[in-house]
Subunit: 195 residues, 4 copies
C-alpha cells in the first residue's frame, strides 16, 4: 500500500482545518481598535489551535518519513486522528467566544485529549506493520511526549471547572513541549540516509 | 493519461468535504453542557457523514492503487462520484438540524444511494480501460459490497417515511460493512508486488 | 521550472472552489419537500457551476499533461484563470438566489467569459515556452472550442437582459460542448508514449 | 527531511486561503447592478489580497525549487509565514467592509508587514541548512525586494491614520514590484539544469 495518498489526503485535511478556523474571526462592525477588542479571546483561541494543528502536522510529517507500509488498520487509525482534529474549529470557536470559561475550556481539553490518544495509537498501529526492531521502532524510542501529553490534558480537564485559565496554560505548556522538534526521528533518518 | 492528478484533485475534494461539514456545528450561545445538547443530533449526523466520506476515500485509495489508465470517461465517472459526495454537507446539515425526521432522512439516503451508484459505475468504467483479465478485474471480484449497498439504501429510503431512525440504523450498518477493509484488493497488490 | 507544484496548487484551488459552492445550499428551516422547493434554482445554479469547474479541471489536467516548461509568465497566466474561477461561488449564489433574472445571469456570463478568455490565453503563454512545432502546438490544433466559447458567452450576456433563461441555456450548451473529451490531446499523448 | 510534504501542506493552505476569502463577497439581496455597488470596496480588497497570496505562492514555489534540506527549524519558519497569511481573509474582510478607513487599513498593513518579515526570515533559516556558498545563497543574492518591502509597509502603516487610500496605493505598489518574476532564481535553476 502506497503511503503518498494517505499523506496527500491528510495534508489536505490539515490545511483545511488550520485555515477555516479563521472564519470564526468575523470582521467586526466598527472600524477602530475598540471594535477588535472583543475578538481578542477568539484570536488567542485561534493562535493556540493553529499552533496545535501545526504541531500535529509536523509530527505526522516526521512520523510518516520513516513509515514504509500503510495497511488497512493504519488508514483508519489515521482517519481517527483526523476526526478529532476536525473538531478543533468547533471547540476553538466555542472556547474563544466564551472567553475560556469552565465548560468550553474543559471540552477543548477533551478534544485535545482524544486527539493525543489517537496520535498515541497511530504509531503503535504502524509498528504492528513494521516490527519491533525496525527504524520506526528505534525512532519512536520511549515516546515520552506522546505518553505524558494525555496525562497533562486529563489533569487539566477537571481543573478547568475551578480555574479554566490555568487549564489553558497547561494546554499551551504541552504545545511548547511539542514545538521542540523530535531530534530522535531526524537522527534516525540521517543515519538511514548514510547507509 | 496520468492518474496522479486525478488522485490529487479527488483527495482535495475529499479533504474539503470532510472538513467543511464541521462548519454546521456552530458554537452555541451558552457556555455550559446544556448549550451543547441541541447540537447532539447535528454531531451524530456529522459523525455518520465523516465516516462515510472516510470510507469513500479509503475505497477510492484502494481502487486506484491498481489502476493503470485513466481515460476521458474515467475522469467524468470520478467527477460524478465527487458531485454526490459534495452534497453530503447539505444533507448532513438538513438531517442533523431536523433530528432525522422522515424527509431529511430519506433525502440523506437518496444522496447515499446516488453516491453508491456512482461508486458502482466507477470501477466498471475503469475495467473498460483495463480488460476483463486484468489485476483490477481480479481484485474487484464479485464486488459484493458494491452491489448490496445500493439495495440497502433503496430499502431504507421508503422506510424513512415510517421509521426514520430505523433507516438511519441501516445507513450506519452499511457503513460498518465497509469499514472492514477490502482484503481482496490488498491481496492482489501484495501478489503483484511479489512478481 | 517544475510543473508539479503548479498542478498541486491549482488542484487545491479547483477542489476548494468546487466544494465551497455547496455552502450556499443552506439547510432550510422546514423538514419536508416543500422546504426544499425554494432551493431548486440555487441547486441548478450549483450543478451548472460544478460542471463548469469540473470541465476546467479536466481541460487543465489534459493541457498540463503535455506541458514541459512552466516559466514565470505561465504561473501568472494560470493565476489569472484561477482568479476568475474563484468568483464562481459568488456568481453562482447571486444567480441562484435570484432565480436567474437578467443582471445576475449577465454577470454569471461575464465571469464565464473572463474565465474562457483566461483559458484561451494560458496555452498561448505555454506555446511561447514550447515552440510552434512542439507536441503541445500539435495537440492544441485549431483550438476550435477555445475560440468559439467566448463568442457564445459574449452573445449570451446582452441576451440575458431580454431572455435570461435562454442565456442560461447557452451556458449549459457550451458546457455540453466541452464535456466531450478532447480526443486530439489524448491522441498526441498516446503517440508520444509509443515513441 | 523530504521537502515534498512541506510543499504539499503549504500548497493546501495557500489554496484554501486564496479561495475562502471569496466567501466574504456575499450575494446581495437585490438583483440589479445597484445591489453590487456596495460590494465594490470588498471586491477591490479581495483582488488585492488574491494578488498578494498568489505572489507569496509564486515566491514560495521559486524558493523551494532550489531548496534541498528542510530541517526542523525550516518547518516552523514556514508555519510562521502561513500563520500571518491565514489572517488575510480576516483583514481583507475588515478593510473591505469599512471601505479602507484608517484602522482597518493600518491593521491590513500590519499583517502584510508580519508576513513580509516571516518571508524574510524563511530563506535565512534555509540558508543555515544550505551554507553561504550554495545555489540557494547565490539565487537569493541581495534579496532587495525582501528587504525593501517591510520598509514600505512600515511607512504605510502610520500613514494610514492620515490618508488610508495612499497607504493602500503603497500596498498595491509593493505587490506590483513582486509580480515581476524573480529572474535571478530562474537563472540559477537553468544553470544548475545545464550541469
Amino acid at each position: 500500500m502506497d503511503k503518498s495518498r494517505l499523506e496527500a489526503f491528510s495534508d489536505g485535511v490539515f490545511a483545511v482545518i488550520i485555515t477555516i478556523m479563521v472564519l470564526d474571526l468575523k470582521a467586526p462592525a466598527g472600524d477602530n481598535l475598540n471594535a477588535l477588542k472583543p475578538l481578542l479571546p477568539i484570536f488567542l483561541s485561534y493562535v493556540l489551535s493553529f499552533v496545535y494543528v501545526a504541531i500535529y502536522w509536523n509530527n505526522h510529517h516526521h512520523l510518516f518519513q520513516i513509515v514504509k507500509n500503510v495497511r488497512g488498520g493504519v488508514l483508519w487509525a489515521n482517519v481517527h486522528l483526523l476526526f478529532w482534529l476536525s473538531l478543533f474549529p468547533f471547540v476553538t470557536a466555542w472556547a474563544g467566544e466564551n472567553h475560556f470559561t469552565s465548560w468550553p475550556t474543559a471540552v477543548y481539553g477533551f478534544v485535545l485529549l482524544m486527539a493525543a490518544i489517537a496520535y498515541f495509537l497511530l504509531p503503535r498501529r504502524l509498528l504492528a506493520a513494521h516490527g519491533r526492531h525496525s527504524a520506526l521502532s528505534h525512532a519512536l524510542g520511549s515516546d515520552f511526549k506522546g505518553k505524558i501529553s494525555p496525562v497533562f490534558y486529563a489533569l487539566a480537564i477537571p481543573l478547568a471547572s475551578v480555574s479554566p485559565h490555568f487549564a489553558v496554560l497547561i494546554y499551551a505548556g504541552v504545545a511548547l513541549l511539542w514545538i521542540v522538534p523530535d531530534r530522535r526521528v531526524e537522527h534516525v533518518i540521517e543515519r538511514e540516509g548514510h547507509k
